[in-house]
């Protein structure tokens, strides 16, 4: 689609904007409560059942005042950050992730699960509604990153960094936006949802091939954690892009729907 310069275009439908901000809240809660749940058993094993021989990540406290993080058998001292951290009640103790990033902000697996499982529904229903709507309206096609878009990714970023005068030719969404939408909506979101389901015994009984596909329950927990890291990586890149690619214009378009086309 070709648009005249400096014209406002209505780019984001209400459902998209509403979903976007609901996801901001939901993902923040899901990460915080997920870390709370992780803290109850701060190990990740690449196996079906727990197996120290196949441990990929272990956060622990070998002694008072010391926190360690072991990744693929290599141990790092992470006192204060991981393993030996603040407990949210004014002192430090053996705790994988610090109380400041977990929900609720003290050790409470039961409530952490309540937050997690509720916002999993919020995020999941929102995702499904958006996906169906975008597919029916045909806008999904304009958002998916195609192989032909890949060579345009760097030129687009170069344009935003003012290293290049003109953006590469593109449709209603530029290649960087397509990459963002495709990675979060069609790769990371399904990975996180499916791995979360796969590690539940009730789902395992109904859809065992799903759990097996991820390597079993503990492996699904590992993938679920990895999906969370990808999600945080997405946030970092996404906020960087928003901040460098016309912050005001971007924020307005995701609040009102109107985007000033360049």
């Amino acid at each position: 689609m070709k648009v005249a310069p400096n014209r406002l275009v209505y780019r984001y439908a209400l459902l998209t904007r509403a979903s976007h901000w609901i996801w901001v809240v939901a993902f923040a809660v899901l990460i915080g409560s997920g870390l709370q749940i992780f803290n109850a058993s701060p190990n990740l094993d690449a196996s079906d059942k727990s197996d120290p021989a196949r441990r990929v990540l272990a956060i622990g406290s070998p002694g008072d005042g010391v926190g360690t993080t072991t990744v693929f058998g290599r141990t790092f001292v992470t006192t204060g950050w991981l393993g030996w951290t603040d407990d949210g009640m004014g002192s430090k103790g053996a705790r994988a992730f610090p109380a400041s990033v977990i929900i609720p902000g003290y050790q409470d697996l039961a409530d952490g699960r309540r937050w997690h499982l509720f916002f999993a529904w919020v995020a999941g229903v929102c995702w499904l509604a958006w996906l169906i709507s975008a597919a029916v309206k045909g806008s999904l096609r304009e958002m998916v990153l195609l192989p032909s878009d890949v060579p345009k990714l760097w030129p687009m970023q170069a344009y935003y960094l003012k290293l290049r005068k003109e953006p590469p030719p593109h449709g209603i969404y530029n290649p960087l936006q397509k990459a963002a939408y495709t990675s979060i909506m069609l790769a990371i979101a399904p990975l996180v949802v499916l791995t979360g389901l796969a590690l539940s015994p009730g789902i395992d009984a109904i859809a065992n091939p799903l759990t097996v596909a991820f390597g079993g329950r503990q492996f699904a927990r590992l993938w679920h954690f990895a999906g969370m890291l990808l999600l945080i990586g997405f946030f970092a890149i996404h906020t960087f892009q928003v901040a460098t690619q016309g912050f005001f214009n971007q924020m307005r378009s995701m609040i009102t729907g109107w985007y000033r086309a360049s």
């Binding site: 923040a28 809660v29 990460i31 915080g32 409560s33 749940i37 992780f38 109850a40 058993s41 190990n43 079906d48 059942k49 727990s50 949210g88 109380a99 400041s100 990033v101 977990i102 929900i103 609720p104 902000g105 003290y106 409470d108 697996l109 039961a110 409530d111 699960r113 309540r114 937050w115 499982l117 509720f118 999993a120 529904w121 590690l199 539940s200 015994p201 009730g202 789902i203 395992d204 009984a205 109904i206 859809a207 065992n208 759990t211 329950r217 503990q218 927990r221 906020t239 928003v242 901040a243 460098t244 912050f247 005001f248």
Partner: protein, 245 residues
């Protein structure tokens, strides 16, 4: 400038998640809304299908001991000392024929063996080989009255403050073909640390459903008047009654 403000506010928003969550967490209304997910999970997932069964070589020979401490009171010590000869599994409440099964009687009933994974709510899992009597066989033997809704398991272990462990299943879950009153673990009689002489196995739900040291099975129309009224020791502490997820 705007960018700096934005990044600073984003960073502080992330750092504030915990404390804000804690404040919201204490609101009764928020808690009720959050709890609504449990009903949805129960409705959508429910208790369908069968837990995966494993091969002998998958079994954890040293099955992890978890939960409350092994009962240390005199009456349990006596049961252990006498090879559980005085033990009776009492089945009463909304049943047609209340009964008290000896261990020998349970051992003479048809035995089921399952090699299933125990999924703890904390996040770890272990595989054990469990043998024993199907819960549904015991319930068939006593008959269930039409006003029965739940099967409540009363246990011998306590939390150190005198609160006895208990759990509950609805009739559908209790009649699941893998709901087992386990008498053996890994080809040996259950030892005291693993819930001897009888423990429940519910492999389609999280481990806290699989109550150890079961002394009495009480069939009831409701569990509202039992202990904290939420249907189980951990449920009384805020965990979900539906433990399939």
């Amino acid at each position: 400038m705007k960018r700096r403000i934005f990044l600073a506010s984003a960073a502080s928003a992330l750092a504030g998640c915990g404390p804000i969550g804690s404040a919201l967490n204490n609101s009764a209304q928020v808690r009720n809304i959050l709890a609504s997910a449990e009903g949805l999970n129960r409705l959508v997932i429910g208790t369908r299908g069968l837990a995966r069964e494993y091969r002998d070589r998958d079994v954890d020979r040293e099955f992890r001991v978890n939960g409350f401490a092994t009962p240390s009171d005199a009456s349990y010590q006596e049961l252990v000392a006498r090879g559980f000869a005085p033990y009776r599994l009492v089945v009463d409440g909304a049943v047609d024929r209340p009964a008290a099964f000896t261990l020998a009687q349970l051992q003479r009933m048809p035995q089921q063996t399952q090699i299933t994974r125990h999924d703890c709510v904390e996040g770890w899992s272990a595989i054990g080989k469990w043998s024993g009597v199907r819960l549904s066989d015991v319930l068939d033997a006593t008959g269930i009255r039409s006003d029965a809704r739940y099967v409540v398991f009363r246990c011998m272990d306590n939390d150190g403050q005198g609160n006895l462990y208990y759990e509950s299943l609805d009739l559908h879950q209790a009649n699941h073909p893998q709901a087992l009153l386990a008498l053996r673990l890994n080809d040996a009689p259950l030892d005291p640390d693993h819930g001897a002489p009888v423990r429940l196995r519910v492999p389609t739900q999280l481990g806290y459903k699989s109550a150890k040291w079961v002394a009495r099975i009480e069939v009831a129309g409701s569990f509202a008047k039992i202990a904290g009224g939420m249907g189980g020791y951990w449920e009384d502490q805020g965990y979900e009654w539906y433990a399939g997820i």
